[in-house]
């Protein structure tokens, strides 16, 4: 059997203030196979976002192991994590997080710039992905000039332009109405069908149904897994 893309075991993460120590992740273990679409659900404060941040290598765990594509990354320093991240992972956020000073085209182009892709190649790839997301006609607009749904399309375009193996989505439909939300979920499903692994944090049972598997968290632990049929 093929090794899982992600394998975490006994992952722990604490948040400390002067007096209180909060356990965000409590010896959490799970695996995600290449090509899977996984939804993570749970009430506020259950550790969903913390888990997503660690999976996205934006944060490091306090204890435990995180193997990504056969590489132990739990003890990587920031520079190594960043390097791994920019070549393998795309992010989609609830609040889109586009850069206001850049146009649609430039926002999508940015990851390619940071990975050192040549200018001519960049134009080709950005146009390709904008076309796919059906926002080519908005390429010279600034984020403020777009609707929420359009902004999220741009964000997804930006997330996939580098052809990442993994997309991490943090409540991607949270700021959208249901029609735009469904469009976004369709896009993610398409991407998944083309081979991209997707891990999505969501509050919405409706969105979760697009996934292959739902992992439910409570107090930093897995409480249930549903396999979708």
């Amino acid at each position: 059997m093929e090794a899982p893309m992600i394998k975490i075991s006994n992952l722990e993460k604490f948040y400390r203030t002067e007096e209180v120590e909060t356990i965000a992740l409590n010896k959490l273990s799970m695996e995600v196979a290449t090509g899977e679409f996984v939804a993570i659900m749970g009430p506020s404060g259950c550790g969903k976002s913390t888990l997503l941040n660690i999976l996205g290598m934006l944060d490091d765990p306090d204890a435990g192991s995180y193997i990504f594509n056969d590489i132990e990354v739990a003890r990587f320093n920031e520079r190594k994590r960043a390097d791994l991240r920019k070549h393998n992972i795309g992010f989609v956020f609830q609040s889109f997080n586009l850069i206001d000073e850049l146009t649609v085209f430039e926002n999508v182009e940015l990851p390619l710039i940071y990975t050192g892709v040549a200018a001519s190649e960049r134009v080709k790839r950005v146009e390709e992905v904008l076309d796919k997301m059906q926002i080519m006609h908005r390429r010279n607009h600034y984020p403020q000039q777009l609707s929420g749904g359009q902004q999220q399309r741009v964000a997804i375009a930006r997330a996939v332009v580098n052809k990442p193996k993994l997309i991490l989505a943090d409540e991607p439909t949270g700021n959208l109405d249901s029609s735009n939300g469904n469009d976004v979920m369709e896009l993610l499903t398409d991407l998944n069908e083309q081979g991209t692994t997707i891990i999505m944090v969501t509050h919405s049972e409706h969105d979760a149904r697009y996934s292959h598997r739902i992992i439910r968290l409570l107090d930093g632990q897995t409480v249930m897994e549903n396999i979708m049929v």
Binding site: R79, K86, L110, P111
Partner: protein, 789 residues
């Protein structure tokens, strides 16, 4: 990549117009003023350095007298050069420069042109080979083919001869003595201590001092310190040894003289402009002060930039984290922010260039200089490069490091550890205001000192007195005087060799009863008529003045300082010898300030001349034009060949403090600008604080806080910083200004309230700056601010 950086930087600049404007205005003014000051400093430091042999050229000074009467004089006796060249091995060349007062006008054909005093000099032939002054026409080896030769500068040539070739043309000194132009010299550079319009052969001076008259022969006269002597010294020679050898030669050649009468010292040519002969500051202190002011102003501008950009970093944390998440490395972000700063600087720099070009004429007027801001000049680029690199490094690195260091996940959630850099910003604001308060204190003290100089009791009355040379009127003075005094517009007349506000020079060629063998007295001699003391209202502490009787020619009047330093008890009736003339002391005049107030009152001696060279006319403010007209009538009668020109002593006196006036004006302006730039930064920070506290203000208002409460809340933090700045700056500024005042023999007292005033000014300005934003924030509708949350 670079294109992307520039694009983002430019859009950021445009999108945040308010902060960009604050940043750029602050930087523009800071850079422009910083560079203007540094151009001034560079100009001051460039004096006399353009000579190829500048490192080997020294000026000979003489330390004369003992104890309190000791002073270092910039002139030395004429024989120093000749003997030095002959007998001291380390000396390669010796050149003397002696200012000529022989003529005040020259005639060429129908053209009669005035030459200001000090523009004519006698020089030794080697002048043209020792220095790099360029002889455009004429022979460097034999610059003066005969004693009636003259070398004139290019602009003087233009003035007299227009476009004609000046070589071989003859001009008439005072319309009678012919001089033939034997050379044309390129104009003296503005940054040369040696300057003038016409140069005459030293032989001419030697003829004048042929030893037959009152003065000894030029090369035997060791008692008259009137030549500026330059030596070219072998690079390996010891200047101390050379000076000692010169002193030894002096002792040998002037019998009866003691070492205290004249110890020679060598001063490097390059220090001539900024240091007095005694090594004290003649400008170097101002150069240092201005350099510090330039650095402070640039620092203040940098601090503004750093404060505004780090304060606003919170607002950019989202952008930074997004960039990091999608793959930006820290170094890439660091570069991005550096480029933003560079862009801001480029805009500010271009504006600063424009500003400098625009204000240069005014700046030259205020500073009394002729400086050029020429972008094709390498020296200007030195200043620009120094300023830009230093300020750019100072203001770009910290914000860039801070911004690029954000942890993406925290930044995205707005969880930036603001505390750390808020403290840093506070420290910077304190620094900024400490600089400003320091400059305000400096300004107050400089202005007080200047008004003190103007109000000081000089010990004489110079009001409404104008002066002019008598010339041919000298022979008819008694008749002229008799007629002029009948006019009510003329309150009095007198003649003297020099006026009360300055002396012409000093001599150590003195002797008196009871003179101790180790005492030497350097004294300022005045030749005056019987009316001089009365006209200037000089007071006698003993004896009487001259009455005009024949025996007065053997009488002397001393000032208090002369009596004290000579150690003469009961001076009236005692013998005193000046040069070769023995006489009796008949009066002691109360001390008065006949030199700059930077110097203590020196000894002075008055000899009687029935009619001396300079005429002094006392009038009233109202009658002055009429009095001038009355005198002009006689001038036209006797001095038709000379233009009628006169000087009011009040103006001449003010001229002595021109440099101080310029300095003070510049300092006032610089201090004002420093405060203004500080306020720009404070204004920006206050705006920012009001912005980020919008929710807090809303909640407080809902809970019942008044506008005054809110204003106080927002202002308090800043005012505390300003108070800390005052506490830090006051002692430092106090100490520094005390040092500056030490330059003046007569100085204003430093009062604690000066600091209080400076502090109050800073607080008021700061409060006005902050409260505008604070009141605006306090007046805002809370419903609006809370709803936006």
């Amino acid at each position: 990549m670079l294109k992307n950086y520039l694009k983002t930087a430019w859009r950021n600049l445009i999108n945040t117009k308010f902060y960009s404007a604050l940043n750029i205005v602050g930087l523009t003014i800071g850079l422009a003023v910083g560079m203007l000051i540094l151009i001034w400093v560079q100009d001051e430091l460039s004096y006399d350095r353009f000579h190829t042999k500048a490192d080997q050229i020294y000026k000979v000074n003489a330390s004369i007298g003992t104890g309190a009467s000791r002073l270092v004089w910039g002139g030395v006796p004429a024989p120093v050069a000749a003997f030095g060249l002959k007998e001291v091995p380390g000396i390669v060349t010796a050149v003397r420069v002696v200012t000529s007062y022989s003529y005040s006008v020259f005639r060429y054909q129908e053209k009669l042109l005035k030459e200001d005093y000090g523009k004519l000099s006698f020089v030794d032939d080697a002048f043209f080979t020792l220095f790099d002054f360029k002889l455009l026409k004429g022979n460097v080896k034999t610059p003066f083919p005969n004693d009636q030769s003259v070398i004139i500068t290019e602009s003087a040539a233009k003035k007299y001869f227009g476009d004609q070739d000046p070589m071989g043309k003859t001009i008439l000194g005072d319309s009678k003595d012919p001089y033939t132009v034997s050379g044309v010299l390129a104009d003296f550079p503005a940054n040369s201590s040696i300057a003038g319009d016409m140069l005459f052969s030293m032989n001419l001076k030697r003829k004048e001092y042929d030893g037959k008259g009152y003065w000894k022969a030029m090369d035997a006269d060791w008692g008259n310190y009137y030549t500026t002597t330059f030596l070219q010294v072998r690079p390996d020679a010891s200047t101390k040894a050379i000076a000692a050898k010169l002193t030894e030669i002096h002792m040998k050649n002037q019998p009866g003289i003691k070492p205290t009468d004249g110890v020679f010292q060598l001063q490097p040519l390059k220090e001539m402009h900024l240091y007095n002969p005694d090594g004290s500051s003649a400008g170097i202190q101002i150069v240092k002060i201005f350099s510090i002011v330039a650095v402070l102003i640039l620092l203040i501008a940098c601090i503004n930039y750093i404060n505004l950009s780090t304060a606003r970093s919170m607002l950019r944390s989202k952008e930074v984290s997004v960039r990091k998440i999608i793959g930006a490395e820290r170094s890439q972000l660091f570069m991005q922010f550096i480029i933003e700063t560079v862009l801001c600087f480029v805009v500010a720099l271009l504006l600063a260039f424009g500003l400098i070009y625009a204000v240069m004429p005014v700046y030259n007027t205020i500073s009394g200089k002729q400086m050029h801001f020429d972008l094709f000049n390498a020296n200007v680029w030195q200043v620009i490069a120094l300023t830009i690199i230093a300020t750019l490094v100072a203001s770009s690195i910290y914000p860039a490091l801070l911004l690029s260091s954000f942890k993406p996940i925290n930044a995205l959630k707005g969880k930036i550890s603001g505390a750390g850099n808020a403290t840093f910003r506070k420290i910077l604001v304190v620094c900024q205001f400490a600089f400003s308060v320091g400059l305000i204190i400096g300004t107050l003290i400089i202005n007080r000192q200047l008004s003190y100089i103007h109000s000081i009791q000089l010990g004489y009355d110079k009001e409404h007195v104008f002066a002019l040379p008598l010339r041919a009127m000298q022979d008819h003075y008694e008749a002229i005087r008799a007629e002029l005094v009948t006019h009510p517009e003329i309150k009095g007349l007198s003649t003297g060799s020099s006026s009360v506000i300055t002396s012409n020079g000093s001599t150590s060629d003195t002797d008196w009863d009871g003179k101790a063998s180790d005492v030497s007295l350097l004294i300022n001699p005045y030749d005056i008529d019987k009316d001089f003391m009365g006209l200037f209202k000089l007071k006698f502490v003993a004896g009487t003045g001259f009455t005009g009787i024949k025996s007065d020619t053997a009488h002397y009047i001393l000032n208090e300082t002369a009596v004290r330093l000579a150690g003469i008890k009961n001076p009236i009736g005692k013998r005193f010898k000046l040069h070769d003339l023995n006489g009796t002391i008949i009066g002691v005049v109360k001390d008065f300030h006949f030199a700059s107030l930077k110097e203590t009152i020196a000894p002075a001696i008055f000899s009687y001349r029935p009619t001396a060279w300079q005429l002094y006319v006392k009038t009233t403010g109202k009658d002055a034009p009429a009095a001038i007209k009355l005198v002009e009538k006689y001038w036209k009668q006797y001095n038709a060949n000379f233009p009628y020109e006169y000087t009011f002593l009040d103006d001449a006196y003010n001229d002595m403090y021109k440099t101080e006036q310029h300095t003070a004006t510049l300092f006032n302006i610089f201090a004002g600008i420093a405060v203004f730039i500080s306020c720009l930064g404070l204004f920006g920070l206050a705006t920012y604080t009001a912005q980020i506290k919008v929710k807090e203000i809303g909640i407080r208002k809902v809970l019942g806080a008044s506008v005054a409460n809110i204003t106080a809340m927002l202002s308090r933090d800043f005012l505390v910083l300003v108070l800390i700045a005052i506490a830090i700056a006051s002692p430092i500024a106090w100490y520094a200004m005390n040092k500056w005042l030490m330059d003046y023999a007569y100085r204003t007292e430093l009062h604690w309230w000066l600091v209080a005033v400076a502090g109050a000014v800073a607080v008021v300005i700061a409060f006005a700056t902050i409260s505008f934003q604070a009141v605006k924030a306090a007046l805002a509708n809370p419903v609006k601010s809370l709803r936006s949350e």
